[in-house]
């Protein structure tokens, strides 16, 4: 009996291997990178204006100003065009939105905003992804919800869609 069990061992190991592979194939790991700063204060930063004539953005503008949405976008980012109407919708509902333009030329940001709508109160230009990295963001578009005391409460990775609106509004309400 004992010997039989030993003989079956390779088969058991193989079956476990197949199970493990099958499990990972049917449930692939999530590649989105979540920021570890959710629940922590916004790191200190100061950005120049992304376009001349529009107010720039610094961390001081985010603290103590009620719940705000900070949207990382770029004119060279195609999914950002897709989420532009959703941001405009939020703006119409009275949400205060600030933008951070990642690696973008002022003329391109201006054209992007005139073409797809400008939902932003302030827009900072992050020419070298420095603030993006400080926030623990790994791409565009991404959105952060900052509460009244300047603490990051929520992060959304990827373009916002209509389906995300209830979650975003609930999180904004929670951050009030």
């Amino acid at each position: 009996m004992n010997r039989r069990l030993w003989l079956a061992l390779p088969l058991i190991v193989f079956a476990l291997f197949v199970l493990a592979v099958g499990w990972r194939l049917s449930d692939p790991p999530d590649p989105t990178v979540k920021s570890r700063l959710v629940g922590q204060p916004v790191p200190q930063f100061t950005l120049p204006p992304a376009i001349p004539g529009k107010a720039p953005l610094s961390s001081a503008d985010l603290a103590g100003k009620g719940p705000r949405l900070v949207n990382l976008f770029a004119s060279w980012c195609v999914p950002c065009i897709g989420e532009a109407p959703v941001l405009m919708q939020l703006r119409r509902q009275g949400v205060q939105i600030d933008g951070i333009a990642i690696r973008d030329a002022p003329a391109d940001v201006a054209e992007f905003l005139s073409r797809h709508g400008d939902p932003f109160v302030r827009v900072g230009g992050d020419m070298r992804s420095q603030v993006q990295m400080a926030l623990g963001s790994s791409g565009v578009p991404e959105s952060f919800i900052i509460d009244g005391s300047g603490v990051i409460r929520y992060q959304h990775v990827g373009p916002l869609t209509d389906a995300d609106l209830p979650t975003i509004l609930t999180e904004l309400e929670k951050a009030r």
């Binding site: 990178v33 060279w76 070298r128 992804s129 993006q132 990295m133 790994s138 791409g139």
Partner: protein
């Protein structure tokens, strides 16, 4: 004719643009002036994960964000930070995951203990075999 057409379409095709076309960060492709600091930065860059192409290190990747991360590493080391300070700054943003050199924590305990357990099991197996052979 078909080959000619195919090469023409290839020549005319423009790549899908997922990059900003803005200039790279100052130290993305440029070494530090101090060779000792550059060696430190290089060793660290080989151990940091690119956030865009997640199987590569930032030393290997040509993604724009990887370039910006390389510049961040070099600039911070140039300013006098130790490689471990830079690593922990990034870990505090992106989690343990960003580093290819896992520290010892409850999450990674199995990773560190598994080789010891395997060697132990192998040793016991080998010892059993030797004992049996001596007996026969």
């Amino acid at each position: 004719m078909r080959v000619w057409l195919a090469s023409l379409t290839l020549a005319l095709a423009s790549p899908a643009l997922a990059d900003s076309a803005q200039p790279a960060s100052p130290y993305a492709y440029q070494q530090l002036e101090d060779p000792r600091q550059e060696a430190q930065a290089k060793a660290l860059m080989a151990e940091l994960r690119c956030l865009v192409c997640q199987g590569q290190s930032i030393a290997d990747s040509d993604a724009e964000l990887a370039g910006d991360m390389r510049s961040l590493v070099r600039e911070r080391i140039k300013a006098g930070e130790s490689p471990e300070q830079v690593r922990s700054w990034l870990i505090s943003r992106y989690g343990e995951w960003v580093s290819y050199k896992p520290g010892l924590s409850p999450e990674t305990l199995f990773l560190w203990v598994a080789p010891l357990l395997l060697v132990l099991a192998g040793g016991m197996l080998a010892a059993g075999q030797f004992k049996r052979r001596r007996r026969s």
